[in-house]
Amino acid sequence: MDGPTGGVEPGGPRNEAAVRRSKLITRHAKGEVRLCHVKTAMKRVAEFCIEFVRFLDENGAPQSALPPGLAEKETLVAMYRLMALTRALDAKAIALQRTGQLGTYASCLGQEAVGAGVGFAMRPEDVLVPSYREQAAQLARGVTPAELLLYWGGDERGSDFSGPRHDFPIAVPIGTQTCHAVGAAAACKLRGEARAVVSCCGDGATSKGDFYESINLAGAWRLPVVFVVVNNQWAISVPRSLQSGAETLAQKAIAGGFEGLQVDGNDPLAVRWSVDRALAKARDGGGPTLIEALTYRIHDHTTADDASRYRSEAEVEAARARDPLLRTRRYIDLAGYWSDDEEAALKEHLASVVQEAVDTYLATPPPGPEAMFDYLFARLPGPLARQRARALGTPGDG
């Protein structure tokens, strides 16, 4: 027996077990205090440190020598360009919503480095199972800006995207997608495929049963899945400190029997390196990893939210100073990979890319009434065929 033994002497010495005598103070009704001696058998079952990965500090200065291959000019510039595209599209989406041209939108402002790191670490054959704030990862995977706008503009066709066709659509009900991710990982493992799944969720999702059920299974079955917990510090209005008594969200992996670590989520190199390492382990049969990416949700939860009701402007300002784009820009400047001319050209390029996406989105005619029937089942059942005819106003039916 490994737990408290209620004063019963355990059956002899055992490996790694230390029997220790502790003093318990018990209080009785009369108020008298009595000292009791209880023998408990203590077995050390877990001892953990949470690794924290960061390469670039808040000023974009490398803290240590970067791992080989991580800081190649081409990749760094590509990651920076992706983050800049994400931000430009994000700003446009908010503007479109404010002018009645887009539905409720969840901004990813300030979280671009997480998606860039995830997107650049994944291979095309890997599977992304995103939450709804992973625009950067989706864009990196090949989802187009117009498709993102189409989705947030209220059109299912936005999830029929051109990115890897096996990637999952974003999940709105919090944390539900972690279960899909472990199912997808189980499918990869069953078929002996050297591919892995990345499950993204926010800090809020780590409070949910689906999250715990998923990490529990992933650990038990050593599934090829990487859980990326994008800790942006807020579950709408509930701060991280009120969501969990755990010191880190990363350590939730320990209970699942696998490694959890933290990365600076505003350092795209740290995210990319960590996810890359975890994916390699997963593809190699080494099982799951949980990566808690520390970042900050600079915008409101969605365009329907007003964050000033529950957090201070000073806190947001402090977060702006840790901006992932500024940091990356400073680094590529420092490394001599980037110039003001290139920045100006990029701004101009992104403006036209985003405008083109807006034009494509706005020029897409809304779906007709048949669309809600035609994708419900592979073959439309009779009663629905009649409802469809009624919806289309087809004479002589229904």
Binding site: V127, V129, E156, R157, S159, D160, F161, R165, H166, F168, P169, A171, V172, P173, T176, T178, C179, H180, A181, V182, G183, A184, A185, A186, A187, C188, L190, G209, D210, E213, S214, N216, L217, A220, A371, M372, Y375, L376, F377, A378, P381, G382, P383, L384
Partner: protein
Amino acid sequence: MAEVNLVEAVNQALARAMADDDSVVVLGEDVGVNGGVFRATVGLQERFGASRVMDTPLAESLIAGMSIGMAAMGLKPVAEIQFMGFIYPTLDQLVCHASRLRNRTRGRLFCPMVLRAPFGGGIHAPEHHSESTEAMFAHVPGLRVVVPSAPSRAYGLLLAAIRDPDPVIFLEPMRIYRLLRQNVDDDGAELPLDVCFSLRQGSDVTLVTWGAMVHETLQAADALEAQGISAEVIDVATLKPLDMETILASVEKTGRCVIVHEAARTAGMGAEIAAQLSEEGLLSLMAPVRRVTGYDTIMPLPRGEHHYMPSVEKILESVKEVLEYS
């Protein structure tokens, strides 16, 4: 051809589907080594291996959710929920994802999964083990809800459910798991989904039912025949989508309809059938549609269970009432 009971027919269909198609996998609590608490999956892990017959942790939302993930990746998962009373954590996954994956991706991804669960009362099971909440699932767009009522239909309908490219909730009436044996040819032939089965032809009254209540209803039809009353018996089998053509055609012939179900009365599937009869079959009806159902009460624990269950006598009473109209 061999004589099998309903749960053995389920087992046969699972084995057949797995033998025919490598992408079919079975998962759930105690489905592997133990062969399922009702033995529906017995022998499958021995035959197909632990990688295809998976004992999951005790986590129903996960079982449904991971099935969705597997299905989207091209597998055909058949998940077991041990009892319907434990199915409710799966609702989030079924309503928010399984039922709509095809629609929300415009057909890019879809969800060929089957969620099996034993359901219904009458076996003196513990609390939470006896309810019939099929109407909750029937209300969800994008799900098929199928209830077999005999070994042959269990075999053919389950095969069809597994092969169907969309999610199917397959509810097995546990009271009749071992009630009767039928010769079932294990030939891999499926039965059609989305249609009712006419079990008995008749001309005076149509009795519409499903699941375990098919047997009380057939007994009632026998008793009526002895009184010279000819009852048609329809096993709905697929509750959603509902094949009203068969029911309407029968009522056109008989002019009277009694619907029998074990589930609670209000907003049960009987209400939907009665509503559609009033919309489409009013001119055929010679009497009000009657429902013989469970009460709108919590299913009593075993000592009081018989007070709740619809009986042959209650069916006969309702038939007598509708026959009084002329």
